[in-house]
């Protein structure tokens, strides 16, 4: 099932085209990494998915229903963190979540305190006291924003920079939380500048550049092996002679070898008395993929 599907999604602000014919495709169970530089139209796209910004043209479907027409039935199943968390500074985190819950439709008063506690517990704010949000650190605010998104156990999470302001331990904690939620069936769309974070958590990626979707694919296929092996040896000359015809490049003590079979290459080298420090299949990093996709677009 398609969880998010847009066709020809376009937004113009006056003469500026912020989002230009984007066709997003997020499937159930995905952790979808939404990438793009500042000003590439990411946030505007996310806001259009959620019915905050109205598209100039194109269609949006979320959880199988058209947006923003059906936002009353779609949004209760969506949890979102858009451009940073926000809460009234004079309220405690607990009170803010309770009021936000009470403000919307279909919220029962019974069990509300429990739901608030659960959400706070999930994001590691279980021990939070009555202090007002004004006194929270950036990381605590971020966690509170995540708690607000998780309150109603959404089927879809839309998170903009969810690890902003968190320390490395916090980032790891939130990453684990997202993966757990995803394993339990929640589809996640996460936008981030931290490519390493996306690379670790996402199953699919979409790259936005100057308002256009320049890449959308499974992470495994875009960051797959390049068909080259990286051989690290103190004797690159001997190794190059043995593997003649297959060596793509020599860089100091590193060789790039066009071969899929690491085991046989290793056996051949070691058998011939070439000491091998390490040998592994070369993979494209997400950074290479993103830079490649955006620069290709820039030339075209």
């Amino acid at each position: 099932m398609k969880v998010i599907r847009t066709e020809g999604l376009t937004k113009r602000f006056g003469r500026i085209t912020a989002v230009d014919g984007v066709g997003l495709d997020v499937r159930e169970g995905d952790v979808f990494g939404f990438l793009g530089a500042n000003g590439s139209g990411k946030t505007t796209t996310v806001r259009m998915l959620l019915g905050l910004v109205l598209p100039t043209s194109g269609t949006v479907e979320v959880l199988g229903e058209p947006m923003p027409a059906r936002r009353a039935s779609v949004l209760p199943q969506v949890g979102a963190l858009v451009e940073g968390p926000a809460a009234p500074p004079h309220l405690s985190g607990r009170r803010h979540l309770a009021l936000l819950d009470a403000a919307g439709p279909g919220s029962r008063r019974t069990g509300r305190a429990g739901r608030v506690d659960d959400a706070l517990e999930q994001v590691g704010l279980g021990g939070v006291d009555r202090r007002p949000v004004r006194t929270y650190s950036l990381g605590m605010r971020q966690r509170l924003g995540l708690a607000a998104a998780l309150m109603r156990r959404p089927r879809l999470l839309v998170l903009d920079e969810p690890t902003n302001g968190l320390d490395p331990a916090g980032i790891q904690e939130i990453r684990r939380l997202l993966l757990d939620l995803n394993a339990a069936g929640t589809t996640v769309l996460v936008s981030s500048h931290l490519l390493s974070e996306i690379e670790r958590t996402c199953t699919r990626v979409g790259v936005l550049h100057a308002g256009r979707l320049v890449l959308q694919d499974d992470l495994a296929s875009v960051c797959g092996p390049t068909g080259l092996l990286v051989v690290d040896t103190p004797d690159p000359h001997l190794a190059a002679r043995l593997l003649v015809g297959r060596v793509e490049a020599v860089d100091g003590e590193r060789l790039l070898v066009r071969d899929q079979d690491a085991a046989s290459v290793n056996a051949a080298l070691v058998g011939a008395g070439v000491p091998v420090r390490s040998l592994h299949a070369q993979r494209r990093s997400l950074e290479d993929v993103v830079l490649d996709a955006t620069s290709r677009q820039a030339i075209a």
């Binding site: 969506v78 451009e83 926000a86």
Partner: protein
């Protein structure tokens, strides 16, 4: 959302501080009058003020006439100006809409909140003024012969009549504030800064008050926001002078319809990008 808005209003220290400030002016006036026994001469100063030294039960009306031209509308403009723009500035507007609270529903909830503030303020001012009136100010009725209070026209009003007309006057004042609230709410959907929204509504208020003093603005006067605000005095004439009151009600309703309509039209289709 409406319930949340009302709870937030009642629990906010700012609400009560504002009410206390608005209430302070009639209190100060009452104390000054009681201490000095110097009322304004009949026909000068705020309405009813010349009469309260003899009849304290009229003081709620005098208090209303004191706060209605400036104090109360400023407070209303600030509260209503903050309604949408304040949430936007704080960043909570997008999360309310994502909760999801419908946009029309949110506007209604905010308007209800502002009007709850108005009702609360007017009632607190009237109640304090009543207590001060009977406690500090004059006790005897102007017309000693008949029990009851003198109307502005000099004839006597029975107590039930006075009470009914006083509440009608309070209601009229609330309607006037609904006009201000509508203008400020529209401004609040228009700009990002709550201060700017309040200033916008205040500009209209001040402009209207100023133009009313200008003879050259005569053709405009029947349409100015504040033109009939003090017409509630006419409720205490005998017989009641309906002309200005009716015009006042219609004019305020006109402002409410136009500006709430504009607020709705703007907000319902607005891109929320803050």
């Amino acid at each position: 959302m409406i319930r949340v808005e009302l709870v937030s209003l009642l629990r906010s220290r700012r609400t009560w501080a504002t009410i206390a400030l608005v209430d302070a002016l009639p209190v100060i006036v009452a104390v000054l009058l009681a201490v000095t026994d110097l009322g304004p001469r009949p026909g000068t100063g705020p309405a009813f003020l010349s009469a309260v030294l003899t009849d304290g039960t009229l003081y709620p009306l005098a208090a209303l006439a004191i706060v209605l031209p400036l104090f109360l509308p400023i407070a209303v403009a600030v509260f209503a100006g903050e309604a949408i723009a304040g949430e936007a500035q704080q960043g909570t507007l997008r999360y309310l809409l994502l909760r999801p609270v419908g946009r029309t529903h949110l506007l209604i909830a905010k308007l209800v909140g502002v009007m709850a503030f108005v009702v609360l303020t007017v009632l607190v001012v009237a109640a304090t003024a009543y207590l001060l009136g009977i406690g500090l100010l004059g006790h005897q009725s102007v017309t000693a012969s008949a029990p009851g209070t003198a109307s502005v026209s000099g004839t006597s009003l029975s107590t039930p009549e006075l009470v009914a007309r006083t509440f009608a006057a309070l209601g009229y004042a609330m309607l006037c504030m609904l006009g201000v609230a509508s203008v400020a709410l529209f401004a609040s959907t228009l700009v990002r800064s709550p201060l700017a929204a309040a200033m916008g509504a205040l500009a209209l208020l001040v402009g209207s008050t100023l133009l009313l003093t200008l003879d050259a603005a005569d053709p405009l006067k029947p349409y100015l926001l504040t033109r009939y605000w003090l017409a509630f005095v006419d409720l205490f004439r005998d017989p009641i002078l309906w002309h200005d009151l009716v015009r006042g009600v219609l004019l305020q309703l006109g402002y409410v319809v136009v500006f709430l309509g504009a607020a709705w039209a703007n907000f319902a289709t607005k891109d929320i990008s803050d």
